[in-house]
């Protein structure tokens, strides 16, 4: 199984970070992974994205044109990448910030109120974790514990932040599994 993902949003929403966490979690589970940021002339507030591949076999191209999974944390990202998602792929839309529905009928669309849920967890900054949790809950491509290990490593020594992120992640997982909205 090879998951090829594009995660996109505004600079500052933490899409590069959740991409790294996915890659780290995959590596911890002995999978082959690659993480590639968009590194063009970026600016604060502009869109940014990363490509993550998590696979059972060595990763060939680290660049992906048609991902089977796409997370859009903002509207410009959805507009840009929605057409590229592979048929029967997964499209995760942050419905807190994106004011339209998906146009594609041939993909599995998951709407996640990432910002609202993050605020309920204690900080709007954790919206990326909600989205990450929802993806992991829906696909099970990596274990929740492996993602938690990535969170613990990233925020080492900041116990409050770790717990907040765990909470946001778990809320996301429940949404991904269809157990909550």
């Amino acid at each position: 199984m090879q998951n090829e993902m594009i995660l996109a949003g505004f600079g500052g929403q933490g899409v590069l970070l959740i991409g790294k966490m996915l890659a780290y979690a995959g590596m911890k589970e002995g999978k082959e992974v690659s993480w590639l940021p968009s590194y063009g002339p970026e600016m604060r507030g502009g869109t940014c994205n990363c490509t993550v591949v998590v696979s059972d076999k060595p990763v060939g191209s680290p660049v992906v044109k048609s991902p089977n999974i796409m997370i859009a944390l903002n509207r410009p990202s959805l507009d840009k990448f929605e057409p590229s998602v592979r048929p029967e792929g997964i499209l995760l839309i942050n419905s807190s910030l994106i004011d339209r529905k998906a146009e594609r009928k041939d993909v599995d669309v998951l709407y996640v109120r990432a910002n609202e849920v993050a605020i309920e967890c204690g900080s709007p900054k954790a919206a990326n974790m909600v989205a990450l949790g929802a993806l992991v809950g829906k696909t099970g491509m990596v274990g929740v514990e492996s993602v938690k290990a990535a969170i613990a490593k990233t925020f080492e020594g900041k116990e409050k932040i770790i717990q907040l992120n765990y909470k946001a992640l778990e809320r996301g997982v429940a949404i991904g599994k269809g157990e909550a909205q």
């Binding site: 790294k20 690659s34 993480w35 940021p37 590194y39 191209s61 680290p62 660049v63």
Partner: protein, 365 residues
Amino acid sequence: MAKLLMKGAEAIGEAAIAADCRLFFGYPITPQNEIPEYMSLRLPQVGGTFVQAESEVAASNMLYGAGGSGARVFTSSSSPGISLMMEALSYLAGAEVPVVIVNIMRAGPGLGGILPAQADYFQATKGGGHGDYRCIVLAPWSVQDAADLIMDAFDLADFYRNPVLMIGDALIAQMMEPVEIREGRKPCKPLAPKDWATTGNKGRKPNIINSLILDPEDLERHNRRLKAKFDSMERDEVRWASYNTDGDYDILIAAYGTPARVCLTAVNELKEKGVNVGLFRPITLWPFPYAPLREKAKKAKAVLTVELSTGQMVEDVRTAVCEDLPVHFYGRQGGILVTPDEVVEQVTALLGGARPKGARKGGKA
């Protein structure tokens, strides 16, 4: 040591430190800035020294001084910055100073753009600086490969007393992958003490490191000695890899760096459709693996060279296979990466006998 998730740029830095390099001189340029950034953090922690020079010209001449004193030293830059280092590279080769230079290639010519390209192949393999010199040129295709090859680069530089280049398209530096830094590994060459280094001449006659030799007889002798050294590199240091070449195949793809991975994805996709295509990947771009490529091409009816340039390595591929079979070229430029779909399309068209869209046939480019 457990695997770490690292950017290629960081892995290059960490592997250099593991290879006992304690000096880095450089000047910032995208897309390799994470290398000096990492070295500026790590070198002071291990008793080394990081200097941000005032220019690439200065950085490359600092390499000359440090390498001449026998220290392991490296710099990194990207295409336009590497061009500024070419004068020093010639001096380094002429004076036989071992150093390592990493070029994380961006799209050119001129200032070009900051996205991945492979258009510095000619510069790296065919000179770049003036005079009769050669450098071993290593081309990694993954983060692990980059970490492994830079460690070997220091050994090769010391063994031959010659600069060694490692060139990677920008993805090699920007991408994160699991990597294991081989701490405490054995050098890839037997290394003698650097009794030629300028370390202070107390108790011995002075060592002189210089590339100015005005007497023509002396200079010709020097040139011939260097040539013998370069010949031994061609004999002993050729590295390459091939994939899916055990069975029969009509097409052999030749590619290096990240595009070789893209091609491997295409090869695997074609295999699933029952089409066998071989892949040949030069790891040393100089010395180029002419003989192994010619051997692997024997089973094929055509070779397809894929590069992020308008066609540079393809000239060496043509030299390798001579007139045996046609050599086709497919490339993207400007920082755009070749996709697996494009490679599949090229191969499919070649197998169908039609010339694929955007491809150039063998012979004169």
